[in-house]
Amino acid sequence: MKPLVLLACALLLSATTTAQAQIAPCSGVQDPGTKILLDEIVASTPGAANLLQPLASRLDAGLLQVQTELGLDLNLKVLPCVNRKPTGPADFTRSVVDQLNVRNVVMEVWGVTTEVKDAQGRAMQEASVGYVLVPVRLNELQSQRPPGAFVIPYRARPSDPAADLLRLVDQSGRLAAYATLAAGSRALRAAQDAAAGRRPRNTTDDDWAVARKRLCAAQALFGSLKPPAAASDMQLTDYARTLASQTITGAKADQKYAGALKLQPENLPCPTGR
């Protein structure tokens, strides 16, 4: 009898979770430019939804700072998406990710947070934050290589609600690392497609060099994350390293390319440090 009750509870819980899955439209997703979608953080703190817009602005500022530091031009914009509440990586099917990709969305972030008490009875903030790196997820759905959509658990003592949310979403600079990797992966795909004649070549920028710069920057950002590193982070670091080496391989094989990467050795590692 007991297993049956447990099974019924599990089914009920699963049904409730499915029913609450809400991938809702996000205003601004049709706008031109590269975007990061910041979904509503489902929080036990009252009024957390009202913090979404200020949170998006602070993330924008944070990303801009990282880009300036690294000399990158990702031209990313963080869009707050009220009422959009994915339940997990499984919501990001091929069809959903494809639609995000064609609208220049490189990443989506969502989260759930609750307040719990620790063993000493102190209030703690427990959260799960989900990330989808759209170009990586597209690769994952094709070849199942790196995780393109994953959830990272989080636990900290609550302080100021806005600061908590920022800390929660950014997670010690993870957001910048993910965004840079997603942008680098996209740039590499563009360079590969141009070399294969599937799209017009960019005449103003060196596609291969842009991709390498971003991927090396992502590698450096992953390296600077505070330990302990999540399992997904380690896989993504390896992925960034692999893609960065592919930029040189691709550039050398590209017969119409005459840029600097053509002369580099294939096993040239990315420069270390930020």
Partner: protein, 232 residues
């Protein structure tokens, strides 16, 4: 035999008198039967007169049926519009979720041909959440009523200078590629040529103007065109 007469013998020894035992009756022949009149040819009007009730009944039935069918069709259309309205409001409303959009679009596809115009209109402004369910609904209708879906979508593809974004063109190409559109070949080829020549422009709603299709969009359109044309 009363009226039989023996043949005279050939010899000349004939009696002087000849008694004939016969009864002679004088009868008058019956008057000849009057010749029946030749059948009079009927005038066509007479036929018409005879058939008039039948004709009136047939015409009356036909007209009544046509009028009744017309009324019923209109009533059905009105009923469709009324019933589709709630689903369309849900589909294009701001608070729709992916699951709701899938349910609404799927139900709309059950209306068949009448659902095509509103679905195409909804597709024109659809975002990442609404586009896949609407494409699926058009695909579902197109499998049974190909012409109803092909006509508007081919008109959209064949008119790149219309107020259609490249995302709408992409969706139209994807749906046309999946259903049996007999006239799709030349239209798709024309679109592909326009991309190859670099003459294709797309509508930019933000500026209400037409811009050159960005390279990544051209690449996506080309990939879908290749898939659609490979299926012909």
């Amino acid at each position: 035999m009363a009226n039989s007469v023996a043949d005279p013998p050939a010899s000349s020894i004939l009696p002087s008198t000849l008694h004939v035992d016969a009864n002679v009756a004088l009868t008058t022949p019956p008057p000849p039967a009057p010749k029946p009149d030749p059948p009079k040819k009927k005038h066509p009007i007479e036929y018409l007169q005879a058939l008039t009730p039948l004709i009136i009944a047939a015409v009356g039935w036909f007209v009544t049926d046509a009028v009744r069918s017309g009324f019923e069709r209109q009533r059905l259309q009105l009923s469709n519009v009324t019933e589709m309205r709630d689903l369309l409001v849900k589909l294009v409303g701001p608070s729709v979720t992916l699951q709701d959009a899938q349910a609404a679009a799927s139900t709309l596809s059950a209306f068949g041909e009448p659902a095509v115009p509103p679905l195409v209109t909804a597709l024109a402004g659809a975002d990442d959440v609404r586009t896949p369910p609407i494409e699926d609904a058009l695909r579902a209708i197109g499998l049974n009523h190909a012409q109803a879906v092909c006509d508007p979508l081919l008109r959209i593809i064949g008119r790149p200078t219309g107020r259609f974004t490249w995302l709408l063109h992409r969706s139209a190409i994807r749906v046309v590629g999946d259903i049996d559109c007999p006239k799709a070949g030349p239209v798709l080829q024309g679109f592909k040529n326009a991309i190859a020549n670099g003459t294709l422009k797309t509508y930019d709603p933000a500026n209400d103007d037409w811009i050159v299709v960005p390279p990544e969009a051209a690449q996506l359109l080309n990939a879908d065109l290749d898939r659609a044309m490979a299926q012909r």
